[in-house]
């Protein structure tokens, strides 16, 4: 795969990297370190070219959530995100209507009650579609919001909707129209929010852990990228990008061990992911321990073999 016309991370991926950062977690969302397989680069390019959402799935620790901030950093776009929970509703991603505040103002009487539009709080997609409008709306609603330069706004936005499968199944479906039309209406006031025509279409990156199946209409509107769990070579490369490589190739040996454990673990023990691999390397480096002996065994136990079920208590 050779297409890199819109988006090419080559040469930019390491910019701003903190060598040997021993404090950051493996699942970094700061966009400083990312390894770019060619299929991932192609998928981002296709999503940009077709102005479609990019749906990213794959096992834990494969870089689903950290893809968006990295794309944002490399493309110079603004990065916006929403971590979806089981309580998230589709409308929360567009706007929220503060009914409680309006009710309080109404009961206070006098001049406290404002126009209905003043109780509308912009959501992440409003901010992506029309950042100036969202900023004005926040001001109207009396909410503090950071100012951004015109140049930054002109570059467009990358929006991460993280773990969409945590929400009820109707949430992705309810977003189809807004993501397709790049506009939506505030039901309570009839106010229309539209994406700016002179701006690049926001790149919406949606991640899923495959806990639930997503509806076919949603899938049929997305560019779908599945990130595979990295093999030992891939893990070693990630360690190198994080500055955790060793001259004596200990990071390669640990990577091979992680793959071995991953292939062998079933049942109550969680399969070690990239995050756990990096944690184990950091722990090993910090404790200056060789890959044999009790200390490494302890590191392996606590960092690589994460129990997914509480241990049963004896009766």
């Amino acid at each position: 795969v050779d297409a890199t016309k819109h988006f090419e991370p080559k040469g930019k991926a390491r910019k701003g990297r903190k060598e040997g950062d021993a404090t950051a977690g493996g699942d970094r969302l700061d966009g400083l370190v990312y390894v770019w397989p060619r299929p991932t680069v192609l998928a981002v390019n296709v999503a940009l070219a077709t102005a479609r959402p990019l749906l990213v799935s794959g096992p834990p620790g494969t870089g689903k959530s950290s893809l968006a901030p990295n794309v944002a950093r490399i493309t110079g776009r603004r990065y916006l995100h929403e971590f979806v929970t089981s309580r998230t509703q589709a409308r929360d991603l567009l706007y929220r209507f503060d009914a409680l505040r309006r009710l309080r103002d109404a009961q206070a009487g006098g001049t406290a009650l404002k126009d209905d539009q003043a109780y509308v709080v912009p959501g992440v997609l409003w901010d992506a579609f029309d950042p100036e409008g969202a900023a004005a709306q926040r001001e109207l609603a009396g909410i503090e919001g950071g100012r951004r330069s015109r140049r930054e706004l002109a570059a467009g936005a990358v929006v991460l909707l993280d773990e969409i499968d945590k929400a009820d199944p109707d949430v992705p479906n309810s977003l189809l129209e807004a993501l397709g039309e790049l506009n939506f209406t505030v039901d309570e006031t009839g106010f229309l929010v539209e994406a700016k025509q002179d701006r690049p279409t926001p790149l919406v990156i949606v991640t899923t852990n495959d806990e639930r199946e997503l509806s076919r209409p949603f899938l049929r509107r997305c560019v779908v990228l599945t990130l595979p769990a990295p093999d030992a070579k891939g893990l070693a490369r990630i360690a190198k990008e994080h500055g955790l490589d060793d001259e004596d190739d200990l990071h390669v040996r640990v990577a091979e061990r992680v793959v071995e454990l991953r292939d062998a673990t079933t049942g109550s023990e969680g399969s070690p992911s990239t995050a756990e691999y990096l944690d184990a390397l950091r722990a090993r480096r910090s404790l200056e321990t060789p890959l044999d002996g009790d200390v490494w065994e302890a590191i392996e136990r606590v960092a690589l073999l994460t129990p997914t079920e509480p241990a049963s208590t004896p009766r």
Binding site: V1, D2, A3, T4, K5, H6, P39, L42, A43, N45, V46, A49, T50, A51, R52, S86, R87, Q89, A99, L100, L103, D165, D168, P169, D170, E177, L179, G180, E181, L182, T201, E211, R212, E213, S215, P217, L219, R220, R221, C222, V223, V224, L225
Partner: protein, 322 residues
């Protein structure tokens, strides 16, 4: 750019042109866009339509030796030439190459292929909607209930809380009770499939599956029968889903058949715990005793069941209790 429609071939063209894609990259783009590049198991047969050559069915990719075995069509000289884009083969019947490769069927009992999977009882394209509608609890977390507010304020009563409309959610997960009675034997694979579908739709970590015989009040569990315990309803608000025939598929005096009274007592326990109760029954509703139809939402597990019908049937039992 406005993209209301589903991904179509225009997206592929757009992406391939925008990225100056090579043929190999174009295939990768097609896969990303959901166009499955499935290699054909059988070579595609192309009908040549050039009038100046002998028409023949040309299996692509086949070796020379194999191609020689194919009967070659020759143009009939006596036949007048009619101007046409298509020409007709006048050769002896062209037998497909696979015909000569057919092997005799295995003797009875020697087949190693598993039995074909049964057709699902719900219409496949409606199944996610049916299950989501049946298992969604209704929390009062929807839009503000203006009618209730107006009623209270019109009576000059203070609002102690902001009333909201019921809103469907799968957040609470579900407890699935699978009937292992002999009457359900014909549906055991349907039960397995439906449990798998429910796990995919509700989320596997939110789904608890227990088995029982007769009625859950006789005991339920996950492992062998001897390990089953006294049945306890889940925490308040978590829907309970029965995959059962409610005893209607068994002979009246079968030992694992629970009576209507036993089922009513079970339904009352679940209701008292504040859990919605829905039963998927692979028989028509009319065969279920009327008292049971009133006590729990009985959804016919059948191709005729629609999402709307499920909403009507389960709507009342899923309403929030508070």
């Amino acid at each position: 750019v406005r993209r209301r429609a589903e991904i179509y071939v225009g997206d592929l063209v757009l992406a391939a042109r925008a990225l100056d894609a090579s043929p190999q990259t174009a295939v990768a783009i097609a896969e990303l866009l959901g166009f499955a590049a499935v290699p054909s198991a059988e070579p595609v047969q192309v009908l040549e339509t050039r009038r100046d050559e002998t028409p023949e069915l040309t299996p692509q990719g086949e070796g020379e030796a194999e191609a020689e075995d194919e009967p070659v069509a020759t143009e009939a000289e006596a036949e007048p030439v009619v101007p046409s884009e298509l020409t007709r083969s006048t050769a002896s019947p062209l037998l497909p190459s696979w015909l000569s490769r057919l092997e005799p069927l295995d003797a009875a009992g020697a087949a190693t292929e598993p039995d074909p999977e049964p057709e699902p009882l719900f219409l496949p394209r409606w199944t996610p909607g049916i299950l989501a509608a049946a298992v969604s609890a209704r929390d009062r977390e929807g839009p503000v209930d203006v009618d209730r507010i107006v009623r209270r304020l019109a009576h000059a009563r203070p609002l102690e809380e902001l009333p909201r409309l019921p809103w469907p959610t799968l957040r609470h997960g579900a407890q699935i009770l699978v009937d292992a009675s002999s009457g359900l034997d014909p549906f055991s694979r349907d039960q397995v499939h439906l449990v798998a579908r429910l796990r995919r739709i509700v989320g596997s970590e939110r789904v608890e599956v227990l088995r029982f015989v007769g009625c859950p009040t006789r005991g339920a569990g996950t492992g062998p029968v001897r390990t089953w315990m006294r049945y306890e309803p889940p925490r308040t608000g978590k829907p309970v889903v029965l995959l059962t025939d409610l005893g209607v598929g068994l002979a009246p005096f079968a030992t694992d058949r629970a009576g209507t009274g036993e089922w009513l007592a079970f339904a009352e326990r679940v209701r008292a715990a504040g859990c919605p109760l829905v039963a998927f029954v692979p028989y028509p509703r009319v065969r279920v005793p009327r008292a049971l139809r009133r006590a729990l939402a009985v959804v016919p597990w059948d191709r005729t069941t629609s999402i709307g019908a499920v909403r009507r049937l389960v709507g009342p039992v899923l309403e929030p209790t508070r």
